[in-house]
Subunit: 172 residues, 2 copies
């Protein structure tokens, strides 16, 4: 049975520590609400479910929690490829440079006015896409949507487009 989910934002703000370090989270004393599922915690949960690969194609990427999630997957040995927008990647607060320094494979699109996608493909089978840029404002302040699906008819074209854009922006 196919997975089809929709998440709407802005998300409630809640502690996300349990998603990153399940062992120590019980002792988290931060002031945020604990034990609360939000649109954002659901989004992170689906990203963190990656066990072999994560392909990201994102216009803007400044959200620290999303960056932490990607770095955590990288540490776990998940193969990560990030395709960003050439202009946005240079902006203050962009996490693209942080990911690159951590050893993650990053390319910037230079063949269009803007690379405006905001999608992720998890393990070559789960598509996460929508209006949401990977920024704090998008998550906490804007009205946004994220659609999560493993329908092959929807996932496959995104996989192919990622491969096409990845090859197109090979710096070599």
């Amino acid at each position: 049975r196919p997975l089809n989910k929709v998440l709407f934002f802005p998300s409630k703000v809640a502690c996300l520590e349990h998603l990153f370090s399940p062992k120590t989270a019980r002792s988290c004393f931060c002031p945020l609400p604990h034990g609360v599922e939000t649109s954002f915690s659901r989004l992170l949960r689906h990203l963190l479910s990656a066990s072999s690969s994560l392909d990201l194609c994102v216009f803007s990427f400044s959200n620290m929690d999303l960056s932490r999630a990607v770095l955590l997957l990288h540490q776990k040995g998940v193969t990560i490829r990030v395709l960003g927008d050439k202009d946005y990647s240079a902006i203050t607060g962009s996490q693209i440079g942080v990911l690159r320094k951590a050893g993650i494979c990053v390319r910037c699109d230079s063949g269009s006015v803007h690379m405006h996608h905001k999608f992720a493909v998890v393990d070559g089978r789960l598509l996460i896409t929508g209006s949401l840029n990977w920024t704090l404002q998008a998550v906490q302040s804007n009205r946004e949507n994220i659609l999560i699906t493993d329908e092959a008819e929807l996932v496959q074209p995104f996989i192919e487009e990622f491969h096409r854009l990845w090859a197109l922006n090979d710096p070599a």
Copy 2:
């Protein structure tokens, strides 16, 4: 069998006249290519398939062809509701004022930093959503995606979110 389609942009530029006036299009002598299907012509075709209702929730709306399509549906008696972003709707080139003057029901969202959605629901059964803003640049210059589906699990949440936002922004 469910409909699941993905369109990628930028779109090739081609004459769209046949979509708007099928009778006279045969005699179009504009300099654009004719008889060519593009991502944009497919998007317009799905929008123009509306026979009873069209609910639009769009951050920015300046594209003249999309505006022409919505006005044509309005003339045909399709019930149209447009929810826009409060800041963007006031910007030069926005078609929101044009639609309002034509008698289409328009509301502007004022309860968030940005109403960043870009989705349409056709006849309460077909969802059109993605990264694409309804501008000329998005269609012709940016890398963008549009997902078209009639999967109830995906369409229904967007219908409910539209109703919620529409009621929330009732000016009365």
